[in-house]
Each structure stands twice: as structure tokens, then as C-alpha cells.
């Protein structure tokens, strides 16, 4: 009970923090929409092509904008000592990683997921695909959050080369992207593909607390 309460208050804190960083989220979303406009303009008014590549574009933009927010993942908490406080407050580093991953999903990815319907209208993606899109996007963005957690905790130990973490995330997300784009275009065996995606999610989800936790501990030790 006490533990549950602590988790709730953890999210209260995250909420307060993210709200004050509203600008970052807005910047991400604006980036997202500007990019969509860019594509629409560069392709021209040919609606066929747009809807053909729309899903791919959405996926790429999802990935890119989650790299945009990677720096926020642990960096701030690490620098102002709140990572340590949270640990001393009774959360193991692995568990902090899980909490933070969800928080990233909640406060960064969800706003995106919500803007997907609008993006679909712009990109002329037919309505009956929307539900597939949504499911695959939710799973995919959770995967991205997990990968992001790992790479940005690694980045704490490597304060010089910030982009390296993002590059690693992106390499690992290539298979995810291939599968997820495939899902939309192969409606018949939707289920088996989504299962694969789900499998990937489970794997990264299991690795995440272990890997991120280790990196967090080491980076605090060396600070």
C-alpha cells in the first residue's frame, strides 16, 4: 500500500515536471506536424502516393520525435540529484527505470498517439486501417520508450557523445519499423505480425530494468 502510494506520487512529480516542460512536448508535436507538411508539399497533391507511404512516414516520425526527448529521460533527474532521492526513497534502480519508461510513454508518446488521427487525415490514410495503426503504434512506442531508457541511461556515463545513444536506439528499432510497417500493409496475417511485435516488446521490457538500472547505478557512482 505504502509502495503503491509512492508510485502514485512519483507520477505526480513527473506530471508537475513535464507540465513545466510543456514547451518540449509542444516542440515535439510541432516538429511532427511540420514534417508531415513537408512531405505533403514535396510529394504534391497526388493523394495516391501520400496514402501509400503515409504509414511509413508516421512511423519514422514517431521514432525521430522520441529521440528528440531522449535527453529528458534521465539527464535532468540525474543532474539535480532527484534520481538519488528517488532511489533513497525506496525504489531500486531497475524499478526506477520501469517507472521512468512508463512516464516517458505517458507524457511523451501518448500526446503523439493522440495526434495520429489528425495526421491520418492529413496523410489520407483510410479509416479502417486506423485501428491496426493504433495498436501497432502503441506497442511500437512502448518498445521505443524501453530502448530510449536503455540508451539514455547509457548516455549518463558518456557525457560527451550525446547522439550515440540515439544512434543505438535507431539501429535497434529498424526491425521494429520493418515489422510494424508490414503489419499495416498485410491485413490478413495481422495477428501473427502483431505477436512478433509483442514478442519484441516483452524482450526489451525484460532487458530494460536490468540494463538501465545497472547504468544508473554506475553513473551515480562515478559522478
Amino acid at each position: 500500500m505504502k509502495f503503491l502510494n509512492k508510485i502514485v506520487s512519483f507520477y505526480y512529480r513527473e506530471y508537475k515536471l513535464n507540465l513545466s516542460g510543456l514547451q518540449d512536448i509542444l516542440t515535439n508535436i510541432i516538429f511532427f506536424f511540420i514534417s508531415i507538411f513537408i512531405f505533403i508539399f514535396s510529394i504534391g497533391p497526388d493523394r495516391e502516393t501520400i496514402s501509400l507511404i503515409g504509414v511509413g512516414i508516421l512511423w519514422t516520425l514517431l521514432l525521430l520525435s522520441s529521440t528528440l526527448s531522449l535527453r529528458k529521460f534521465y539527464q535532468d533527474d540525474f543532474e539535480n540529484g532527484n534520481l538519488l532521492i528517488t532511489h533513497l526513497n525506496g525504489f531500486s534502480f531497475g524499478f526506477i527505470a520501469i517507472l521512468k519508461t512508463f512516464s516517458h510513454f505517458l507524457f511523451v508518446q501518448i500526446p503523439f498517439l493522440l495526434s495520429i488521427p489528425i495526421a491520418c487525415i492529413l496523410l489520407n490514410i483510410v479509416n479502417d486501417k486506423l485501428i491496426y495503426l493504433f495498436i501497432s503504434f502503441s506497442i511500437g512506442s512502448l518498445i521505443l520508450s524501453c530502448l530510449g531508457s536503455i540508451s539514455s541511461s547509457m548516455n549518463l556515463m558518456n557525457q560527451r557523445n550525446f547522439l550515440l545513444g540515439s544512434v543505438i536506439v535507431m539501429i535497434f528499432s529498424i526491425p521494429v519499423i520493418i515489422f510494424s510497417v508490414g503489419i499495416i500493409n498485410m491485413e490478413e496475417n495481422f495477428n501473427s505480425l502483431i505477436n512478433i511485435l509483442f514478442g519484441i516488446l516483452l524482450i526489451v521490457f525484460a532487458i530494460n530494468p536490468w540494463a538501465s538500472g545497472l547504468c544508473l547505478k554506475l553513473s551515480l557512482e562515478n559522478n
Binding site: S20, N80, I85, L88, N89, G90, E221
Partner: protein
């Protein structure tokens, strides 16, 4: 309750200190002294298990610390030499957040009275980033009251404070001691704050 035995620490192959022993019982106030870079912060961090010692061991209630870590954390407040309040939020928001995350049972009037003694009551709606250095530091001490733990581990709590505030902190230390609490803190200043033991690094 805390027992540190023959603790040595190396970092990047440099020995920082060797064979430190200390024991912190209830009602003790230990002052760590030493030159800059003598390893005070390192020692305190080792006690809260952020840094792994090269040799030696730390016990909590008779058991090795690592075995019993979260129970130890449950009884400990650690305030580092940097402040942890969120500078983008107001003082009030920070207090609210602390109250939530530490599941504090302190009620608001108590907090208000402490804010008044610390002379922070006028700044409730000010952003932490615009507080003066000393005020941020004093704000940090609120955590001691909000967390309400037995053991306080404080890194340079007295630096950058005016004499009046130091007196208030000293008062708080004595209160805590009379409630069987224990404190270990580092400082460069000599103030008579009721220290029961002094350790030089």
C-alpha cells in the same frame, strides 16, 4: 546503529582514505572534518551505498548494509552538497511534491511554522530559481522535517548560511537528538552545534 569498519576507498586508482572507523548510535551527532578533497562527501556517499568501498564494510543494525538496504533507506534522510529542489517550480510546489513522494504525515500548519522560523514564508509562490543561495539551502532542510526519519546524513549543511540560520539548524539538531535521532554531517566551520563526536579525515 550504523557501524563503519576499516573502510578504504580508491577512485581511479587513487586512494582517497584508508581504514576509517565510525559508529553512529542513537542520539549521536557526528561531525566530519577534513580538508577539501579529503573524502568527506565520498564517505557519506559510501554510507548511503552509492559508492562501493574498495575494502571494509558497513553495518546497519548489526547486519551488512547491502543485505538490509531498503530498511536502512527507510530510516535515513540524505542531503547532498547540491540542492535537489526543482528550480523551475515554486517553493510551494516543491513542498507539495516532497510531501507526496515521502508520504509525509506532517500537516500544513507545522510546515508553515517551520517556514516561518526559516524565514521562507514570504517566498511560497516564488520560483526556486529566483531564491537566494542560502534560501535554497534552507528550503532543502525542510526535507528533514517532511521525511521525518531517524538518521540524518548531511553534506555541508552549514556553508553559505547566516549565523541566525545556523542557530536554527543547531536547535533542530538538538531536538532531533532528544528524540533519539542521530546525525552525521560534514562541515568546515566550527560552530557549537552540540556535536558529540568529531572525526577527521
Amino acid at each position: 546503529m550504523i557501524l563503519v569498519k576499516d573502510l578504504s576507498i580508491e577512485r581511479s586508482n587513487k586512494t582517497i582514505f584508508n581504514n576509517v572507523n565510525l559508529s553512529l548510535g542513537s542520539g549521536n551527532i557526528i561531525l566530519l572534518k577534513g580538508k577539501n578533497g579529503s573524502g568527506k562527501t565520498t564517505l557519506l556517499k559510501t554510507i548511503v551505498n552509492i559508492i562501493d568501498p574498495s575494502s571494509g564494510s558497513i553495518y546497519w543494525k548489526g547486519k551488512p548494509l547491502k543485505k538490509n538496504l531498503y530498511d536502512f533507506y527507510n530510516h535515513t534522510t540524505y542531503i547532498a552538497d547540491k540542492t535537489s529542489s526543482l528550480s523551475k517550480l515554486t517553493v510551494q510546489d516543491n513542498i507539495k511534491i516532497w510531501k507526496k513522494i515521502f508520504l509525509s504525515k506532517i500537516n500544513n500548519s507545522q510546515i508553515e511554522s517551520i517556514l516561518k522560523t526559516l524565514k521562507l514564508d514570504n517566498y511560497l509562490n516564488q520560483k526556486v530559481s529566483s531564491l537566494s543561495f542560502g534560501e535554497t539551502k534552507k528550503l532543502e532542510f525542510l526535507r528533514l522535517i517532511i521525511e521525518d526519519k531517524k538518521i540524518w546524513i548531511l553534506d555541508e549543511p552549514l556553508s553559505s548560511l547566516d549565523d541566525e540560520s545556523i542557530d536554527i539548524i543547531g536547535q533542530t539538531f538538538q531536538d532531533h537528538r532528544s528524540k533519539e535521532g542521530s546525525i552525521i554531517f560534514s562541515s568546515h566551520q566550527n560552530s557549537d552545534i552540540g556535536v558529540t563526536e568529531e572525526i577527521r579525515l
